[in-house]
């Protein structure tokens, strides 16, 4: 038992526990905080798996940017206490049964494939940021440009969708224009 494996188990365990807490929380902010914990734990997992660049991005982008974005939106929505109550009322034990069974089946299948599909071997060597960068701006250049386009589209889409249009209430079109 080497240290890397130990760290892997600990951080993996933290990630799983944090994720379970995310999906069982009634309070949205609490759930998001657990989500950050889960992401940070995963960043450690990435690191021990020999992907330091990905680990850094996980922390910066996921934990730093995306979750913060969601928190901002939740703040904008200005949710009250009753949102939590409502969440509690929706999340009855009964709703777990069906999804649980489905996911259990899927899990079993994935485990079956993994354990019989010849996935073995160890992660031996780290792949550093320079290699990733060379690869990114070499063979994957087109894909990088497409990603840029996707982000552009996301920006435009978010702006367009998020814009609060001024309500123009015409006395005849009241029903259609909202």
């Amino acid at each position: 038992m080497n240290t890397d494996l130990l760290i892997f188990f600990i951080s993996g365990g933290v990630a799983i526990v944090a994720t379970i807490l995310v999906i069982t929380q009634y309070n949205m902010i609490h759930a998001l905080l657990y989500l950050i914990v889960s992401f940070l734990a995963l960043a450690v997992v990435f690191y021990v798996l020999g992907a330091p660049f990905a680990a850094a991005l996980e922390v910066i982008v996921y934990a730093g940017a995306i979750v913060v974005l969601i928190i901002f939106v939740i703040m904008m929505l200005n949710l009250k206490k009753d949102a939590e109550e409502q969440e509690r009322s929706w999340l009855t034990p009964g709703v777990w049964v069906g999804p649980g069974i489905l996911c259990a089946i899927l899990m079993i299948e994935i485990l079956f494939v993994m354990l019989t599909g010849g996935f073995e071997g160890n992660a031996t060597q780290a792949v550093g940021a320079p290699e990733v960068g060379r690869s990114l701006y070499g063979p994957y250049l087109i894909a990088v440009e497409l990603s840029g386009l996707l982000l552009m589209a996301g920006t435009v889409g978010a702006y367009h969708l998020g814009r609060q249009r001024r309500k123009v209430i015409h006395r005849f079109l009241e029903m259609t224009d909202e």
Partner: protein, 627 residues
């Protein structure tokens, strides 16, 4: 020849009158309408007289082509008028009786709001009827045939506010349509054989094209007979005529007594060659006539409505004409048509006066005693009735009916049964005529007279009364003296009837028998209705079932209702939801149901969509792993 060139004026003048009245009749004064309506027919009658004089000076067959109508393949009918002795007699009767009835209508319809409509229809009728009898080809004849049917429909339903009148009009139209369809098929048959519908060509080609007694000739003749029985209200299509009395009385007089209903007689006489080729068809014509004249005559005895008595009497008299046609006595049929047109029109016009005078009272048993109150009408009516009953020697009906009876017995195609039917018919005719006259004009007055007819009405009565008596002398029996004007006149067109050898000796005897039948009939009528008061009620009680049957026209209406109307209405009701349509509705329903079922998956609840994606992914992965 020169005057005959103007033959086209004869149908054209009434057509012009009709068009004028249709277009601008609403805005005209009643006087102007009367002048146009009656005037066009009067002018037409004058033209006919001029043409008739020209024709008599040089008899023959004239063809006047007005213009080419249309050309479709072999079929190229033209508007072609054909004048010979037969059509001359018809156009004379149509225009002359038509003119008298138009004059009568001027006063009769004065109070009516549909004055212009009435005269427009009546003029259009005269035009159609003239086209029918003048047509040189069967297409034009069919145009006229349908034209008179249309006018008949319009005029029966003239007082359309009452649904009963509309019903009677539809009944007349639909029943005659049955016959018209048969006739149309007959025309197709003729066209497929001769490649033309020109009457002269068909008549000259038929004997060479078809063998005597061949089945196709029989079929053609029977199909034409179908059209004739429809239009002329003969068995089995006779039951529309009594209901047709719903129209105004001048209409009944002109269309449903004098002219249109005799179109069938005209058709058979015109196409006589085709009928002579088929003994079966001839016999059928005779039997139809004989049976019709009997059942209609018996029905007439029991009717209480003045106009219905006359309607049944008309059916019966046309039955005589068919009987004559059936035994090949062509000129006798035309002669009877000629006399019948006058006396029946007269009777109807008198009936109109009576009904008007008694506040639209139709029931003869509520009349009575009119002899003193309407003496002129009584005289006129009596003249017509005498002619109808065929009182011997002085009336026209006697001569024409006697001629038919004589040929029914002695003609080559005649036989004893047809003669017997005619004889019984004569007795019955005399009986119901006597009843009509006695009940209406004698006894005590039951309804007061409120209105006396003016000269517009009495003049036609007078003229027709004179004609009813005198026209008989145009053709008197061989054994009286040689005065056979009608059959001589028609000899160019219609063949003379051959007599069974050795029967001339019986002619006196037969005439005597016919006279006896008439007198017995009149006496029975007198005995029941006049000599012993109350006897007719007793007779009616004793024979109640038979009386009811006869009053209902032998139940033909009920029979047809049961045979045709009920099944059709039943089918219509059964098919109310449209069974065939149900198939398509079913397809649509299945599609809609499928649509609803699939729409349920698109319920807008996002969790269901996620679930769908998960289940689908699970399915695909499972398949990928284990299969």
């Amino acid at each position: 020849m020169s005057t005959i060139e103007y033959l086209w004026l004869v149908p054209f003048l009434p057509l012009l009158g009709a068009l004028l009245l249709i277009v601008v009749g609403r805005s005209m004064s009643k006087a102007a309408i009367a002048w146009i309506g009656a005037g066009s027919v009067v002018l037409s009658a004058l033209v006919v007289i001029v043409i008739g004089i020209g024709f008599l000076s040089s008899p023959g067959v004239y063809e006047i082509s007005v213009w080419q109508w249309f050309v479709v393949g072999n079929l190229n009918p033209s508007i072609e008028l054909h004048l010979d002795a037969l059509s001359l007699i018809f156009i004379f009767v149509i225009t002359f009786v038509g003119f008298l009835i138009h004059v009568y209508s001027v006063e009769f319809m004065r109070e009516d709001s549909g004055y212009a409509r009435f005269f427009a229809c009546l003029n259009l009728f005269v035009c159609s009827m003239l086209l029918l009898v003048l047509a040189g080809n069967l297409v034009l004849l069919y145009l006229g045939w349908e034209g008179v049917g249309l006018c008949s429909y319009l005029l029966i339903g003239f007082w359309y506010e009452d649904p009963k009148n509309g019903y009677a009009a539809r009944k007349a139209f639909i029943i005659t349509r049955v016959g018209d369809t048969a006739m149309l098929i007959g025309l197709f048959l003729l066209f497929s054989t001769f490649s033309t519908l020109d009457i002269e060509t068909i008549l000259s080609a038929a004997p060479t094209e078809w063998e005597q007694g061949s089945s196709i000739a029989t079929l053609a003749a029977l199909l034409l007979l179908g059209g004739a029985v429809g239009k002329s209200a003969q068995l089995p299509l006779q039951n529309w005529l009594p209901d047709a009395m719903a129209g105004p009385t001048p209409v009944s007089a002109l269309i449903h007594a004098a002219t249109m209903v005799t179109a069938g007689v005209y058709l058979i006489a015109r196409m006589y060659v085709v009928f002579e080729l088929s003994p079966v068809a001839m016999t059928t014509v005779g039997v139809v006539g004989a049976v019709t004249l009997l059942i209609a005559g018996f029905s007439a005895i029991t009717q209480t409505d003045l106009k219905r008595v006359l309607a049944y009497s008309t059916i019966s008299q046309i039955g005589y004409m068919f009987l004559a046609l059936g035994v090949g006595a062509w000129s006798a049929a035309i002669f009877h048509f000629f006399t019948h047109a006058f006396f029946k029109a007269l009777l109807f016009l008198c009936a109109g006066v009576i009904i008007e005078a008694l506040h639209h009272e139709h029931d003869i048993f509520r009349m009575g005693g009119l002899r003193k109150q309407l003496p002129f009408v009584f005289v006129a009516f009596f003249a017509g009735a005498a002619s109808l009953a065929a009182l011997p020697l002085v009336t026209s009906g006697f001569y024409s009916k006697d001629m038919i009876l004589w040929y029914a017995w002695a003609g080559e195609k005649g036989n004893g049964l047809l003669y017997a039917a005619g004889l019984v018919g004569a007795l019955v005719t005399a009986l119901y005529t006597a009843r009509l006259v006695i009940v209406t004009f004698f006894g005590s007055a039951r309804t007061p007279v409120s209105k006396k007819p003016g000269w517009h009405m009495t003049l036609p009565l007078g003229v027709l009364a004179v004609l009813s008596i005198t026209t008989g002398f145009l053709e008197v029996p061989h054994n009286f003296w040689h005065g056979q004007l009608i059959s001589g006149f028609l000899s160019d067109v219609l063949p003379a009837t051959t007599i069974q050898p050795g029967s001339e000796a019986y002619e006196w005897l037969l005439q005597l028998v016919a006279v006896m039948a008439t007198l017995v009939g009149v006496f029975i009528g007198y005995y029941i209705y006049m000599a012993t008061p109350g006897l007719h009620e007793i007779v009616k009680m004793k024979m109640a079932p038979l009386h009811g049957l006869m009053q209902a026209g032998w139940g033909f209406d009920a029979l047809y209702d049961l045979l045709f109307v009920r099944p059709v209405t039943w089918m219509a009701r059964a098919n109310r939801g449209d069974i065939i349509d149900g198939i398509y509705t079913g397809i649509a329903w299945v599609t809609m149901a499928a649509n609803r079922a699939f729409a349920m998956t698109q319920n807008g609840v996002m969790r269901w969509y996620v679930l769908g994606i998960v289940v689908g992914a699970l399915l695909i992965i499972t398949l990928g792993i284990f299969v």
